[in-house]
Amino acid sequence: MPGMDIVIDRPTDTAGPAWAQARARLSLYLEALELPEADAARLLELALARAREEHPAALLPAALSALQELLAQRLETPPPTMPRLRRGPMVPAPLDRSLLRFLLEDLPAWLATSSLHLLSGLRRWPRLLG
């Protein structure tokens, strides 16, 4: 295991039951992967055979480890969740909330523009409602 190992107590002298247990657990693992039945059966036998050959005393961990290697060769890596980055700036501009500026600049400008719009709009008053 890269980085760390977690040690679990398990019996080492259970050739018969250990074999059955490893088979059951690996079958479940492959079932969860939803692989086609034939593929799953083949992978199961391969992993178990490799484990029996290399680490007969620790059949389940060895079989799981062998299965991981086989799956890494067989299964595609899941796709990335996001596309390639294309960064662009989005920087907040400070908001000028000065009352003085509002009174001296914004308010007169608004009054002037509104009056202008209102006067020119009045000439086209039939458009008012539709």
Partner: protein, 702 residues
């Protein structure tokens, strides 16, 4: 200001908007002035005391506030009855029939935060299928942007995303989870813009409960392509899908009165409309250039991050010269309402704080006056509750003073005749009637509109429609004082500096328990009993004026519980009450949503019943998927590596329930530790420890 602003400054609609808004203002101010004078005349001292003056001022503010709603509805009625408005932005044009250009790429953003994963992805699937049917799918990409902190949600979202991609075979469905949800939804959207915004011309922002149909999405892009001066195009979503009584009443009100109000808003707002934060399309480039939100100086609740970002973004977009329009007549846009009164109030508490912050932006340089007015309007949505409460308190004080104080018939100045405090109940009744007209006439106009448009069958027929409106009036009369009390409290707490959490919204039909209802409404009910008792003892005639409000507060607990029940909602439906067009004839997208949800609940792989964190550890498919998203295993410093090892060992020993959410997130973020845990769990020999992880123990399976 930018060049764009100059180019778009003098649009034909500007002059018409000035005229329409002037008319709107006159329609509000003149009746307010008249009725306030009338109110003063009704009072015993004709508004001559400080208390009465305060009553008149508060009354004027409240009357102006309800008049805004009234005239918006009336102008909406006018617009809809004419079936024409030259400025209606969604009015079909021949140019809109062309297929979308390849460069008109649109990102559909679905920001989520600890939501029901199955529901969210079912809605996305429905939108996807509808879009696919238009033949324009390739112009759109989906981005599910998660801020979920719940580790189970995180993994379930990832798994659901992978399943969705697998089932649709569409590569342009993406998923991203932020580790730090800075600035919440607005920060999430801004993060998207910074990373991928340059790849798209537009983005359609969804809420977790949004559904939009393909034709509507395509139509919105067509409109934006035709109108280069539009920065934001907002749709008016229809409320659908909930089954509790309260939600069904809200859905009914939304579907019956909503179109009229939306048309009315369009009438006077034109290109200065609101952005409601979702079910809207946004032109990305100006959004990135001009709509980034700064932090407000000072501490929350009124300082810090801007919470209700949408209004501010609309104001900034408009300041940059781009129009913000409401496509009031564009269908195919849906959302859901909170299922219970308590959920609605929780949401309102967040919105209240957000809208109150806007008052601080009132004098921001360069904003258009209409958006300043919208800031005020947004704050008034909650401040009006406090004003109503104040009005009731002041009126009660007046009634008590009049009953207890000895009248002064002759003041300090010499006078021939005494000053009689006179109270004319019939005048008060006239004023009450005129207020009732303002409040309820739009409802009658809505019925008339539906009848004229021959759409009564969409609401179950004219008789059922009328009965539903009557029931809705009773219901809203019962709820209005409860909302008033809560909103007053929210405003008060916000002004005093109290902070509000910003959690995810409950979107399931879960009923309110009696305990919860009592906890939230009990205080209000007790206040009403006390208030009523004092007024009844001191001034019994005034008690009857207050009684409808006090009765509603006293009944708040049972009303809150009853209205939160799905059973009550369904019973009303059987009686033909509160029927909506979507309930009577669900559009294909809503039918598909039900099927999707049923299918997603049925489909069960080996570990689908396990919580997300357990699936990431145990389920080999989900585990592989999650590791792929995390990337390569990183070299950790020894202290951190040791901590992770200990965490994994604890998880193995105690099972997933032995870990806090923070621990789970830590493990989920470390591919090395997670994979080690994965292998270790699959080797667990004992029955019980294995079962904790959703595995049958080896002893069972052997």
């Amino acid at each position: 200001m930018s060049g764009m602003r100059k180019a778009f400054k003098h649009q034909p609609w500007n002059q018409v908007a000035a005229l329409r808004r002037s008319l709107f203002l006159v329609l509000i101010l003149i009746p307010t002035f008249i009725t306030s004078g009338y109110m003063a005349a009704i009072l015993p001292h004709k508004g001559g005391t400080l208390l009465e003056l305060a009553i008149v001022v508060v009354f004027a503010a409240l009357f102006a506030w309800i008049s805004i709603g009234f005239w918006t509805a009336m102008l909406g009625f006018y617009t809809l009855i004419r079936r024409f408005d030259r400025f209606a932005i969604a009015r079909p044009r021949p140019a809109d029939r062309k297929p979308l250009k390849p460069r008109a790429r649109t990102a559909i953003l679905i920001p989520i935060c600890n939501e029901d994963v199955a529901e969210v992805f079912a809605r996305i699937r429905v939108t996807y299928e509808s879009l696919k049917a238009t033949g324009e799918l390739e112009r759109f990409a989906f981005f599910i942007l998660s801020d979920s902190a719940n580790p189970d949600c995180w993994i379930e979202e990832e798994a659901a995303w992978a399943r969705l991609r697998e089932k649709t075979g569409y590569a342009d469905i993406h998923y991203r989870r932020r580790r730090n949800n800075i600035k919440r939804k607005s920060g999430n959207v801004a993060d998207f813009c910074r990373r991928w915004g340059r790849d798209f011309r537009y983005m359609v922002v969804f809420d977790a409960d949004s559904i939009m149909t393909g034709p509507t999405l395509v139509r919105m892009v067509q409109i934006m392509e035709r109108r280069r001066d539009v920065g934001i195009l907002q749709t008016a979503p229809a409320c659908v899908n909930r089954e509790t009584l309260l939600a069904r009443v809200q859905q009914f009100a939304n579907r019956l009165y909503g179109p009229m109000f939306a048309a009315g808003l369009h009438f006077w707002q034109l290109g200065d409309a609101q952005f409601w934060g979702h079910n809207a399309i946004i032109r990305i480039r100006p959004f990135m250039e001009h709509c980034a939100l700064p932090r407000l100086p000072g501490r929350p609740p009124l300082g810090g991050d801007i919470l209700s970002h949408d209004f501010v973004e609309a104001a900034l977009m408009r300041r940059a010269g781009y129009g913000v329009w409401l496509a009031f007549d564009l269908g195919g846009s849906y959302e859901e309402v909170p299922p219970t009164l308590l959920d609605e109030l929780k949401r309102d508490r967040r919105w209240c704080q957000g809208n109150m912050q806007h008052v601080r932006l009132l004098f921001t340089h360069g904003l258009f006056p209409a958006h300043r007015a919208l800031f005020l309007n947004g704050a008034m949505a909650y401040v009006s509750a406090l004003l109503w409460f104040l009005f009731l308190t002041l009126s009660t004080a007046e009634a008590l003073v009049e009953a207890l104080a000895t009248p002064t018939y002759f003041g300090p100045e010499k006078a021939l005749f005494p000053d009689w405090p006179v109270w004319h109940p019939q005048w008060a009744l006239t004023l009450l009637a005129s207020t009732a007209v303002i409040l309820f006439l739009p409802k009658l106009f809505a019925i008339a509109l539906v009848a004229i448009q021959q759409r009564a069958h969409e609401f179950g027929g004219l008789r059922r429609l009328a009965a539903s409106v009557l029931a809705e009036v009773v219901f809203s009369t019962l709820l209005a004082p409860v909302r008033m009390l809560f909103h007053s409290k929210f405003v008060f707490v916000t002004l005093l500096g109290g902070q509000i959490g910003w959690g995810s919204q409950n979107r399931s039909d879960a009923a309110t328990t009696w305990g919860d209802a009592w906890r939230f409404h009990g205080g209000g009910s007790l206040l009403a009993v006390l208030w009523g008792a004092v007024v009844y003892v001191v001034n019994p005639s005034f008690f009857w004026w207050l009684s409808p409000i006090l009765a509603a507060l006293v009944l708040a607990v049972p009303v809150s519980v009853f209205s939160s029940q799905v059973r009550a909602g369904r019973a009303a439906r059987r009686l033909g009450l509160f029927l909506t067009p979507e309930e009577i004839a669900p559009p294909p997208e809503l039918r598909a949503l039900r099927q999707q949800l049923a299918a997603s609940r049925r489909s069960g792989d080996l570990f689908s019943a396990c919580p997300g964190f357990v699936r990431a550890v145990v389920d080999p498919r989900v585990h592989r998927l999650h590791l792929a998203q995390l990337g390569a295993i990183r070299q950790l410093n020894p202290t951190l590596a040791q901590r992770r090892r200990e965490l994994a060992e604890r998880a193995l020993l105690e099972g997933p329930q032995g870990l806090a959410d923070r621990d789970k997130r830590e493990l989920l973020g470390d591919p090395g530790a997670l994979h080690a845990l994965h292998l270790a769990v699959w080797q667990l020999p004992d029955g019980e420890p294995a079962r904790r992880w959703g595995l049958p123990g080896l002893a069972d399976s052997a």
